[in-house]
Symmetry: C3
Subunit: 356 residues, 3 copies
């Protein structure tokens, strides 16, 4: 680990410490629930950063687009485990809202802040970027919303079809994964290379073996911490009188995405609009069209089955989010007012979730 | 008032006469309800014109964008008072549909007519204009629709959240006003100046003092006339067997917007597409993202509380209108057929309201 | 008929044979239902091709745009009769889903396949075409969806308006036909001529009289075959345990559009994107804004009245389809991944219909 900077070493140590503390908090009886929950949340957010960091090192010889894809895929490991353990613990509402929250936090809150920050830097108050990825992400979000809306409307009517929600969800999940696969293939083969300056010229600082060990360790840690996080969630919700929907949609979603989020905003503040939008957009499409359907399929093996049947208000929120995000970013430019609109929409959803 | 043209003087006199007659109709017992209603409706429409006229004079030294904004803001005074008195009289359906009707009348009927008329004048049958304002208006309408759809879906399910519709509406109203404020700030600071030819070269014809007196008088008159209008509305609805929704969505909405409407169509007929679209679009965004949330907040003090919870059919109509208007005008050009589509959509909504 | 190629003569003979066989199957007692259904389905698909072929000959002297319009209008004759006989036989679900299916099969399945095939041929994996027709079709689909969503929401609430669904549907149908008329007028008068190479240089191969006889014969045959098709449908559905919705949305819709569909895909495979998109798009707009409202009006005379009130899940599917198709094709280019997304959406709808 000699190639690392001091900050990186301190970061890794802090995450390791937080992870250890979360473990202690989980198994020492009498440990305050809320503190255990906060520790696990921080360890989770830190774990996402370590996974992202280790992937970058592993992928240093792989090309930029492929590394980016691998990074954001593995970066979703903590969310994957959190939802999995929530389903195993019978917390269906938390699992659903955590997934939905990952989409909404990125598409409304993070994107909104990045636009407000980025538009300040742009000429004539506009943040500019290639419209290609925003449009691809819009297509992925629309197809996911399409399936979720259909399942919602089919399940809402108490006809024969409402008994087949799981079957329809499985078919929908397979279709969504195929569409995501087609997009990923196209993105990796035809995406223009990111400008040279984007690539860190440093080269790998860890040996490939050290990076792989770090990646596996972070993945395993994420799995354990996710379990502890979910374990501390229920008593925390009760103590603080928070609704399950608010916990999933806001708290878990932000904890599971915090570091990735910060990166997008920091890039926008530095005027690197193109990369900021790429990081945020890729994450939105991936949760909607890869992580969600994958978990629908995996949940066939867990205690609780995850389907695309969400409460109507969240189904509507997702469809409306897909539309408004496309309207704002589909033309390749966005102004501060448009960023404000996205943030405002998120606040209203959070308030609705708080009362749910 | 020496600087005024004969037509303007006659116009002001007629409006003053109509206002006086409406007052007589209100307080003389035995006066026919329907006639009283028609008189108040005409006085209301005239009052909107006087406010608009006086604002132009007051703002003659203020710059075009600021004057336009002030003008359309104060031009909503009659609607503001009508909704306020309707709420005070317990007429929630009229209040809701009058607000919604102001959006739909402008976005479908007036915009549709302006496009049909304007496309005739354009090269190759297309009306052309800058896509900026239509896209900004689409964003404002989407955010307003977003909140209204969420409130509708949250209230539709009879869970705990349906008891918190007022709280959610208040948060939504504050967010909407912040988004509108961000837009107005951006519009006033970065909007390109309207072409010189658009500016009336005449300069102010009234002294600033006379214009201010006229403005205040018109505002006070609008408040009184609105009260009389609402007072005559209920018996008129009963006599004519009109539904409350039709009264609000069609009659009140057209009475409250009539003059502003005519202006947009006349400008389109003269081939001044850019200005025609600006006048109509600004009015749409303002009712949706300024007047509606403002009245939600103000209504906390009135007999009936206004929330964003509308009947499902009108919630759907608003969301669908936001989408179709963006689809038609977001690319900066519109053909006669597209104008016809907007008008057709309005007719169907009016028929639905008639049966509601 | 000397001017015809051998393939065309064989084709006409096969269709004539299938039509005769369907007639036999209808009136010979004990003929297996499923075989009768398959024969009538094939005769119906063949009939659509003969109508299209005969129209092309009749219109050889009429100009390309007018011929294309006439061709696709008459090409909907089989669907018109199928829906009519379904309504006469009291099969409302089949009638509704067959109409909706014609839109969805074209807009999702056929367009999706054409895009996947066409994008392979394009430079850098993109199929390119003029955005004008896709945007016009989007407007037509949005207005149709607008009316259907309004009727659905108005009927869903069990208030007074739900008793007036037929009246609202009639007004909606008239408006939709006016909008379609405005579009057709504009399309025929301002559409740029299709590139010269698109026009078959051969000139008419049939005399005008022979072509007219063929057209009338094909039209009459389509009417009879449609009757036989609907007659064999119900027992086939029962034998195969298919839902009525699946029969209408998938089987009838594909049988009624099969040949037109193949043409669009073949054109895309040959790299003639512009024409491929025209053929498919024109058909979508026509079913939504001409055939559907026409049948609503005509159904006032049949045993069962067709309205715009569809089951919520299909209303949602139509609105979502209108949006996603516009998002994908409105910018004048589409990639293979976007075609996959359309196909995936169709598969999910078909599965929902199968369980309905």
């Amino acid at each position: 680990m000699r190639g690392l900077t001091t900050i990186e070493r301190v970061g890794l140590s802090v995450v390791a410490g937080l992870t250890a503390l979360s473990g202690v908090a989980r198994y020492v009886s009498g440990f305050p629930h809320i503190l255990a929950f906060v520790l696990a949340g921080l360890a989770l957010a830190g774990g996402a950063w370590v996974v992202s960091f280790a992937t970058e090192e592993v992928g240093a010889t792989m090309g930029v687009a492929a590394t980016g894809m691998l990074q954001s895929t593995l970066g979703n490991l903590p969310e994957f485990f959190v939802v999995l353990f929530a389903l195993q613990a019978g917390e269906l509402v938390v699992a659903q809202t955590a997934l939905l929250g990952s989409i909404l936090v990125n598409a409304l809150l993070v994107l909104g802040i990045a636009i407000v920050v980025g538009a300040r830097r742009g000429r004539d108050g506009l943040m500019r970027f290639s419209p290609r990825l925003p449009n691809d992400t819009a297509t992925l979000l629309f197809v996911a919303s399409f399936i979720i809306v259909l399942v919602g409307l089919a399940g809402g009517v108490h006809g024969p079809v409402s008994h087949h929600i799981t079957a329809i969800s499985v078919v929908g999940a397979v279709m969504l994964l195929l569409v995501y696969g087609a997009w990923a293939h196209q993105y990796l083969t035809t995406a223009p290379p990111v400008e040279e300056e984007e690539i860190e010229s440093a080269g790998p600082r860890l040996t490939r073996r050290a990076a792989l060990i770090l990646l596996v360790a972070a993945g395993v840690a994420a799995a354990f911490v996710s379990d502890w996080f979910i374990h501390a969630l229920e008593p925390t919700i009760r103590s603080l009188h928070i609704s399950q929907a608010f916990a999933g949609l806001v708290i878990v979603a932000i904890a599971g995405n915090a570091i990735e989020h910060a990166v997008g905003v920091v890039l926008a503040a530095r005027g690197r609009s193109e990369l900021a939008i790429s990081v945020i957009k890729a994450s939105i499409g991936q949760v909607a069209a890869f992580l969600f359907p994958l978990l629908v399929l995996v949940s066939l093996l867990t205690a609780t089955t995850l389907t695309f049947a969400l409460p109507p208000v969240f189904t509507g929120a997702l469809a409306a989010t897909a539309l408004i995000v496309w309207q704002i970013t589909g033309d390749g430019e966005a102004s501060a007012f448009e960023g404000t609109a996205l943030i405002g929409a998120f606040v209203v959803i959070a308030v609705v979730a708080a009362f749910e």
